[in-house]
Assembly symmetry: D5
Homo-oligomer: 117 residues x 10
């Protein structure tokens, strides 16, 4: 488990006999563009079906804050965060949609899934 | 039947020969966070296909009010309420979507179904 | 044909060789709650594929007005109106979505189909 | 080709090797109700996959204007316009959704497809 | 590779083992109508699943600007831009939806896909 | 006090030393058009500064329901209801805005004030 | 009184002792551009304080329909209609806001008042 | 200072030389109807110009929570809360708008100001 | 009269005896940033009270297009266009609001008036 | 001039003879709560009438970024930023509205003006 992943805490899913869906919307994500040094902003939407573990919301918030001053590209952030959550939660299914705010009049949204559709 | 379930009243479905859908939206749900003691707020949306019984709206309202001062987590509330309605109604199908209001800039929605999809 | 149904007028479908869809939205439906005597309000949305007959709009309006001072429950109104339209139109398919306005902070929508999905 | 159809002009589809979709929204359609003599208003949305021909927009506009003072029912307008466009374009697929503005508090939308779904 | 395509730059997809989706919205596209000489405006939405390459956003912006004073029809712009991106990116899948602003009260949207649906 | 006014109940304003504003929105008003016999629908918005008395909401609801089957014109309903409330409440100021739903594609809103502006 | 004005009917204001406001919204106005021969569309909003007379809605509708095939410019329509209503109603105050739909990507709204502000 | 007021904490206004405005929106207010025992819900919007003191947000939240199980009428809640804040803050100006959710299809908003307008 | 102004055509105001207001919204303005060479986009809203002359819409459109490839700053465009319209129309009053689209996450709107407020 | 102010660059107002208004919206402001160490987010809206100088947008963006990791309260940020802009621009008038995102279900907006209203 890497240093970023260690921030994520989990609690036991009390209803493992049922497939159900948890959606978590985080509209206050911010990191830094590695090329321009300018801050990026985005809304991350996690949707997952828990297996044995659920993610604790406060720790997810702190985990996302650890990117505040990191320089990283849109496509990479999205894939790396998906990988971290999959590593920690081992969910039955997880999708992450990352909608970044406009730069130069252009808006990008990256959507990744595990396992991929 | 537990004490919470006893509050729920039903009436006979007059059209059991037809599969149809009833959606009930309750935007005034409130309970208490067991960790912080702070009130939580949410909108519960029930969608179901009745079999022999339909839920009486006034009793559903009173049932939901019995959580007003209870300390319970989002994932647990949603699953427990689903179980209570299934126990009382034996519906052909029932889905509950519980959209809780933002905490720390993060919003969570839990969706459970019986039988699960 | 019962007294309510007699109000409904039809005209011949000029294009029976084609399956097509007609949607009719009636936001001004009102009846009376049989329990409290208080008026209920709702929006009825009919969607259907005509066979030999289409419903005439003015007569549909008058038909719906005949419920203005009738005491009848949400689930029953919706199923009875569906049955009346099916009896008069013999449509290839018909769905009725009845969205009633909030009572006690709770909103109910009933959706019925013929033949059921 | 009838007189109405003659107004419609086409141009050659430059990309016949690809199935693609063209959506055209015309919110300024108006005709006359044959029963009351009152003007009707509506929004017509055409969606089609061209084969050899595409419809020229200016001519489509003029074609729709030829209904300005014609008395014709909702269901008939929609089916007749579909037939005219199919006759002129021979499209791989074409759908027309005609949403008419409210009359007597009631709104009707007619949707036709070629070939029908 | 033609002169327009040469403006497009790419970077290596770091996660080729996963099928994921990138959506890019460009609301500031403008070109010129070849018939009237008047400027056209539109919003282009690209959605694609990268294979080995992703498109660099700044270069996509410059590529789209090269149409600023070009005279070209809606259907052609959309298909040509799709072809250019396919040539440069060789994506697993790519869809382009081009929504042009209203002319004469009529709005057109062209949607193309590679490979076509 | 006439028969309509008798339905209205009041309670004592506990804060007569302060000028403050109460807004009451009633979206479920319905009466009957005296010319066509067709039902009319509207939203009534009362805004007032109480003097010694406030209007009790349940009784206001019942008062408005007494128009359910009355034939009366828009301008008259609005002025008569204003007069009734002024007679019963003797408010420092009261405005009534009555927004009726569309008839023949035309919507009317009548706004009256006491004392007039 | 000219031929257009003769279509307008009035009824007596039952509450002349009170200054109050009537707003009438007509979203289905259409006339013809005298330069291009193309139809124009617009939403007319009348707001007035009646003196001795109110305008009858059905006749206002017919009056506006008499412009359906007339060729007249935006600024002129708006001023002429204001003048006609002032001639027929002698209102204490009347404003007409005419919002025409976009032409060539440009939208115009003309607002006239009597007496002017 | 009463028991409710004691929950409110303040901090020193660092910019007393400038008249400025603070708006605080609390959409999660809930109390109990003294007549029916049913919970009420509302959104409270405070707007004020501080003099020597500003209200601390966390303590305002706790203060509002002390009404969670109190039975109190709309008009009284609003005036009492205004009085409490005025007692604790001695603001140059303070307005409270309390918008309560619909009951029986009727919505009420109470707005109070200190000093009154 | 400079070269830009010469493109603007006028017609005679037929109602000079009345102060009235014309609003013209042009959402398709584009020019070039003199610093970066990148295109800028904006919505221009003109509101004016004509004296002897009104601006002809087609010529206004062509006038605005003459900025398509000009390099000019936001504040300057807005003031220069105001000056040009004032020079050509001599209006009783004219306001121009220019809302430019976001650059670097920041949006600017410039509003100028003649005579200034 | 302090270190924060030095980041702000200006350019000469080319139209000092005219009072006009510039509005700048910055939806990507973020700082840190000095009490909890948690990031805060907000939208800053500047509106000003320039005298001799206008603020350069890129430098305003960099100036706001210098608060990214600073711990400072809502009321203080807003007043300090106003003071900095007044010091650098000496505007005829400047208003800053700072709308911060919700914390604990409560949203605060601070509005300051120079000179104060």
């Amino acid at each position: 488990m890497n240093d970023f992943q260690k921030v994520l805490e989990t609690f036991e899913n009390q209803f493992p006999g049922r497939d159900y869906r948890i959606e978590i919307v985080c509209p206050e994500f911010t990191s830094v563009c590695p090329k321009t040094g300018q801050p990026d902003f985005g809304t991350l939407t996690f949707t997952y079906t828990p297996d044995k573990l659920c993610v604790e919301l406060k720790s997810l918030k702190l985990y996302l804050q650890s990117y505040r001053n990191e320089g990283i590209f849109y496509e990479n952030i999205t894939n790396v965060i998906l990988d971290d959550l999959v590593a920690v939660l081992s969910p039955r299914w997880l999708r992450l949609e990352a909608a970044f705010s406009a730069r130069g009049g252009i808006t990008e949204t990256v959507t990744v899934e595990h396992p991929s559709a």
